[in-house]
């Protein structure tokens, strides 16, 4: 990988600009000139250089049963929805039955993948979607213009638009909205899982991790090489290596920070195994 996608895009854009008469225009308008100049390099961290932490999620598919065996709706989704006053119709972590090649099926939870090369961040025109120093992809709803081009770019369909003003509970109404805790959701902007940035800042594990009765979801820091599901603490890299970890749609090169540990013989599924 000689040249990163961002570098490539930037070079390409500057080349494209040369043909447009834009340089002339931006000199005319002071405000614009300032904006564009600042935008050449986004002030917020975009590469891996400045990372202080690298939050990572590992989901053990051997343990996830979609909560059907306890006869409840998926508890990660339920607790996340409650904990973040997630607007109606959205599921920041979505649990789905996935069909295997052998005809069986298995369960798979899908949070936002917090891609290291996130297409949603690349395309956002105003930097409302951005990387943090801790490896997260967050949305600043007070910046978002609601163009939805990030929803087009996300190959995992993990972004939701706030089509209307959500009905507020008292707690949600009193909360102070920030990219780390986007409550109450702002009409006309985009929402998604933010890896519980508000919790991990305080040293707490994400709500869905503690909410999972099976302990299937692990969360941790790649820099310190540990993850936990709230019951046990295990080394991260070793776990990934020993369990044939994979990432969803790896071939796209988005480098998600969510890893899955297979185990049922995922190609065949639970029923086929029984």
């Amino acid at each position: 990988m000689g040249i990163s996608r961002r570098r490539f895009l930037q070079t390409l854009t500057w080349a494209g600009l040369g043909t447009a008469v834009y340089p002339l225009l931006s000199r005319v308008s002071k405000v614009e000139a300032k904006g564009w100049a600042a935008s050449g390099l986004d002030p917020r961290p975009t590469g891996t250089k400045t990372l202080t932490k690298q939050w990572t999620m590992v989901i053990d598919l051997k343990k996830c049963e979609g909560c059907v065996i306890i006869n409840k709706p998926p508890q990660c989704t339920v607790t996340c929805n409650q904990g973040h006053f997630v607007p109606e119709g959205q599921e920041w972590i979505k649990v789905s039955k996935v069909r295997g090649a052998g005809g069986g099926s298995h369960w798979m939870p899908f949070p936002c993948m917090h891609c290291q090369k996130a297409p949603c961040v690349d395309v956002c025109p105003v930097g409302a979607s951005y990387y943090t120093e801790e490896g997260l992809v967050l949305i600043d709803q007070d910046r978002c213009i609601g163009c939805r081009v990030c929803m087009a770019a996300c190959p995992y369909h993990r972004r939701y638009f706030n089509w209307k003003q959500q009905r507020l509970t008292p707690e949600a109404a009193l909360a102070e909205r920030s990219p780390e805790y986007p409550v109450p959701a702002l009409k006309g902007t985009v929402s998604k899982c933010m890896f519980c940035a508000h919790n991990v800042r305080k040293g707490k594990i994400p709500i869905c991790v503690s909410g999972c009765p099976m302990g299937a979801i692990y969360f941790g820091d790649l820099e310190r090489d540990i993850i936990t599901n709230g019951m046990e603490v295990v080394p991260l890299r070793k776990t990934l290596a020993e369990n044939n970890a994979f990432r969803f749609k790896e071939e796209l090169g988005t480098e998600p920070r969510v890893y899955y540990l297979p185990g049922y013989g995922q190609e065949f599924g639970r029923e086929a195994r029984e």
Binding site: R6, L9, Q10, T13, W14, G16, L17, T19, A20, V21, Y22, L25, S29, V31, E32, K34, G35, W36, S39, G40, D42, G89, Q90, K94, S96, K97, V98, R99, F110, P119, D122, V123, C124, P125, V126, G127, R143, C144, I145, G146, C147, R148, V149, M151, A152, A153, P155, Y156, H157, R159, Y160, F161, N162, W163, K164, Q165, K187, G188, T189, L252
Partner: protein, 435 residues
């Protein structure tokens, strides 16, 4: 010599008449368009109040009619200025009477495209963020830059050849129009006296703008295509998208200009200046572009249809035999087969025939290159939990779309209330050169 002067005088009389007192058709047209716009504004106020929930768009199919209209208006905008620039550069003077019409279509279409983007935004009041927080990595910002450049460029390009005509308005219309309007003509004419020196300077400026505007025109449509092509979605993630956009935009744009020609020829009684010769030449151009378009449409689909990768297959199923099949086949029939027959068959190769072909092309290209570009791709399920997406536009979306078309027509119409449709200066010069 005498006859040239007479011809010029007659031309001025005919062309300046609508500027003083337009026909009744014209007023009626303005009234109808204004009504559509008022209704559209009401729909927009509803949308602003309740949010985009009042549209048929949802999390899976999150773009619909609005973005389709953006693509459509951008494609309309390509041709006007582009066509007139290409013809100017190649020394074709036959087009002189239709260039201004084409260029005004460009300006109005660009303004409408920008308005439609605003309508689609979740938080339109933050639109200026693209200027103060804009990031060059985003294709949307490329589009903002390209559209702004093109709009400014087109306005200059429209204005320059108009200076002598404005001077004519200033000199001839003084007794019949209000003092304010006379003042405006006076300012805009920049003291034009039709001297040899001024003519030389103007010609040089026009030549420079003509060369500059062509790459900008192409860039606008390419960049619009790249907004889609930069994603991982089936049907968008193809390298052919930008050239295909440019080609089909040129195609539908020529059709739109033929329609505009017919309308203004009738309403402003311009049969003497917009002649069958113009129709004939534009008709053959239309046929050539039709063939290019047909080729692109085929070339776009074949590689995907051959390999049938998962998402690609779902998209093709939707288009060829599924939910969108009716629109898909109707659009191919209406944009390729029927117009080709209308242009080629001697009996229908008339002003009426070409106009009908052009209407068909414009409508079906809206379907194929705007609606069917956006919606089916978003209907494809990307993830195991997705069902095929659904989209049913609501009355708000239809109202605003119709209002946008009305707004576009109103802008063009109002422009020609104050400035002559046909470039008097250029046309009389072209006629002089032609003998």
């Amino acid at each position: 010599m005498n006859s040239t002067a007479e011809r010029r005088a007659e031309m001025e009389a005919i062309l300046l008449a609508p500027l003083v007192k337009p026909s009744r058709f014209y007023d009626l047209g303005i009234l109808i368009m204004a009504m559509f716009i008022m209704w559209g504004l009401y729909a927009w106020s509803e949308q602003l109040r309740h949010g985009l929930i009042v549209t048929g768009m949802r999390d899976q199919v999150f773009w619909g009619l609005y973005i389709s209209n953006v693509v459509f208006f951008v494609s309309l905008s390509l041709t006007g200025t582009f066509l007139s620039a290409v013809l100017r550069i190649t020394g074709n003077h036959w087009q002189a009477p239709v260039t201004r019409l084409a260029e005004v279509v460009t300006g109005a279409a660009l303004l409408m495209a920008a308005t439609m983007i605003l309508v689609d935004m979740g938080r339109p009041e933050r639109v200026f963020y693209v200027f103060i927080h804009g990031r060059l990595q985003s294709p949307l910002i490329w589009d903002v830059m390209a559209v702004t450049s093109y709009l400014v460029g087109s306005i200059i390009y429209l204005y320059l050849p108009m200076i002598p005509d404005i001077a004519i308005c200033r000199d001839r219309l003084s007794p019949s129009v209000s003092p304010l309007r006379r003042k405006v003509y006076d300012i805009l004419a920049l003291g034009w006296q039709d001297s040899a020196k001024q003519q030389e300077r103007l010609n040089k400026l026009i030549s420079i703008m003509t060369v500059l505007i062509i790459p900008v025109a192409v860039s606008v449509h390419s960049v619009t295509a790249w907004i889609f092509a930069m994603t991982f979605r089936p049907g968008w993630d193809v390298t052919i998208l930008a050239p295909y956009f440019v080609a089909s935009a040129f195609f539908s744009g020529v059709a739109a200009i033929i329609i505009a020609m017919t309308v203004y020829r009738k309403v402003f009684k311009l049969e003497k200046y917009i002649t069958w010769e113009h129709y004939r030449k534009l008709g053959w151009l239309l046929l050539a572009l039709l063939l290019v378009y047909a080729y692109f449409s085929f070339a776009e689909l074949l590689p995907g249809a051959y390999k049938l990768a998962t998402h690609e297959r779902e998209l093709l199923n939707l288009l060829l035999t599924g939910q969108q099949a009716f629109l898909f086949w109707v659009s191919l029939l209406g944009s390729i087969v029927v117009p080709a027959v209308l242009i080629c068959w001697r009996r229908t190769r008339t002003v009426a025939g070409l106009t009908v072909a052009s209407v068909l092309i414009t409508v079906t290209l809206w379907i194929k290159k705007s609606y069917l570009l956006i919606v089916p791709t978003l209907q494809v399920s990307l993830m195991p939990f997705d069902a095929p997406g659904r989209y049913h536009p609501t009355w708000v979306e239809w109202s605003l779309s119709l209002a946008a078309i009305a707004g576009f027509m109103l802008m063009v119409a109002l422009f020609f209330r104050f400035f002559p449709v046909i470039a008097i200066w250029e046309t009389s010069r072209a006629a002089g050169e032609g003998g």
